[in-house]
């Protein structure tokens, strides 16, 4: 085998190389999951407790108000919890991915491997948390007699795919920016909080008549995954304009993140 090391070459996703290093995805994800719950007595239960408690809190505080003012497709506890566990993929995925290059700086500076592995692995940790949360969601859905059909499975898969694309896009973008400008360390939590208000996590899109707010809710990259995920538990029609707008924004972010990351990654070791 022969290869050349030179200045930054042409743009490529480097898929072949990522595939060669596929085991490293597993090891990094596995490390992050293990470390996250080491020395905790409840362990993986924490992944379940967090969304469950949050859903309970929102039900207490907002459940009555929202249910009486707007027409929900499902009982509020199920609505809130399904929204929250999908939102968590994004919020924790973005936090982890955004900081991943900085927290792994010592590895980046000492060894080469495709850099994309780091933010992707940290996002995979959030998918693991999702699975935990999903396990708790099932009895809740059964309790509220959610309308599950054959399509539900498809909706859930599509929702996960879109959530991953959105998280990947912003996550890699922020990871690359964060290593260059540490300002983003402070931007990330702030961004996530602000975005949550513009996402139909704890209230439906139709809660407001404000035109601008409607637009914000529709172009939000996490709106489509959340709406699709909920569609798995009800039999009402789905608002496709939301899905389309939101997915387009998601794809644009995906491309921006991927391209910016790949174009700057060669210099991560110099900046870290």
């Amino acid at each position: 085998m022969e290869f050349e090391i030179k200045q930054k070459g042409n743009f490529s996703i480097g898929f072949k190389e990522l595939w060669e290093y596929r085991e490293l995805f597993f090891f990094f994800t596995w490390r992050d999951i293990k470390v996250k719950y080491k020395q905790t007595s409840l362990g993986f239960l924490w992944a379940v407790i967090q969304p469950a408690v949050m859903a309970l809190l929102f039900t207490f505080c907002l459940g009555k108000v929202i249910s009486s003012n707007t027409e929900l497709n499902m009982p509020y506890p199920l609505f809130a919890m399904s929204g929250l566990i999908i939102w968590n993929i994004f919020s924790s995925g973005l936090t982890n991915a955004g900081n991943s290059m900085v927290t792994n700086a010592n590895i980046i500076k000492k060894i080469y491997f495709p850099r994309l592995i780091i933010p992707i692995s940290s996002m995979l940790v959030s998918l693991f948390d999702f699975i935990m949360g999903f396990i708790v969601l099932i009895p809740v859905a059964i309790y509220y007699h959610a309308q599950v059909s054959l399509f539900s499975f498809l909706y859930i898969l599509l929702s996960l795919l879109l959530a991953s694309i959105a998280t990947f896009g912003l996550g890699t973008l922020l990871a690359a920016l964060n290593i260059k400008y540490r300002d983003f360390r402070y931007v990330i939590p702030f961004l996530i909080q602000a975005m949550m208000f513009a996402t139909p996590v704890i209230y439906p899109i139709k809660i407001t008549d404000n035109y601008l707010a409607q637009i914000l809710l529709k172009i939000n990259p996490m709106s489509a995954p959340i709406e699709l995920f909920r569609a798995a538990f009800h039999d009402k029609p789905l608002d496709f304009t939301v899905v389309i707008y939101s997915t387009c924004v998601s794809l644009i972010l995906f491309l921006c993140g991927l391209i910016y990351f790949r174009r700057t990654e060669a210099f991560f070791a110099d900046l870290a």
Partner: protein, 405 residues
Amino acid sequence: MKPILEIRDISKKFKIATEGQSYLNLRDSLSSLLKKANKNTEEFWALKDVSFEVNTGDSIGIIGKNGAGKSTLLKILSKITPPTKGSIISRGRIASLLEVGTGFHPELSGRENVFLNGSILGMKRTEIQKNFDAIIDFAGVEKFLDTPLKHYSSGMQLRLAFAVAAFLENEILIIDEVLAVGDAEFQKKCMGKMSDLSKTSGRTVLFVSHNMAAVKSLCNRALVLEKGTVKMIDSTENAISYYLKGDTEVLNQRIFSKQHDKKEFSLHEIAFRTKGRTSEEPLIENFPIEFITDITLKTTESNQYHLTYHLYNEMGEAMFSFSHKGSQDLRVGRNRLVCEFPAGFFNSGTYYLSLYVIENNLKSVFTENDIMSFTIIDGDRPLGAWMGREPGYIKPNFNWSHLTT
């Protein structure tokens, strides 16, 4: 056969901040989009047009002072950072060990860390599994396999880390100063393993170290980097000797001109050489070393004059003085005196010599301080031996025997 590594005109530029601005920040970047480029940075070439070739099975030592560009070169070779100019053709898989235990996590157990670290270094899971017992055995941590790494002693962590790296199967290994850490026993083990890798299994090794004894014992060639450029690439002995003598041009030998043609004598040459070699070749600590003085006496009374030498170490401390007097007298006319220091007498290092020409055992008619300097380099040591520098400046071999009663 084509060389396994071809390094062609590699240069690496860094921008350094000159006025208090050492971190990139968003505000400055945004404002520099509007304004012209930032005035506060300066270019700095860490490497400049570095070219060399490495053949399969070579082990090359890379030596140079701190800041000479060694680490940058290794980082480019390891693909961690891209070169600003130039390219490298590699005909084998490169594994870089710029640090032992990269990616070790204190919360994970020893077993888990072996897999994690191995995987980061580019090993396949099956490869790690296959070598797992050997790795653990080499590290000697069987009992602590399931203990979190944070409870390991630093020595155990180091052994485990090196053990994983030792089982890499890549064709080219890049090793940075791994030996700087760890106790003598660990170093011994590492050196043995590294020599196995390069000598027995035909692996190509690039080895950066400040430990000349280690470089000498491991490498067949060495490269001297100075301020980002390759000063020389040659046999390990020559490269080390060149590196140690630094900026001074001619060493180990000084040939004198008219200035040393005095009323009483005329001095032609003072030189040190390894016995059986020329003065151009480096002086090696574990060989006998000859000291030659070439002088013509112009007087008629031969034993009127004698020469005394004072020897100083790098710190300027006098070590001892010596003279031919009492052993050989000077003759009238040309004298070529040879003094032999037994093998192993000098410890490695640079020494300075002062010369005194004494008249009638009393009066110094000529004195020159630091008339010459010479550098002794480390000799080969058996692999597995201590690679550090012994204390002191001389390490004479005395006669030892058992008392017979």
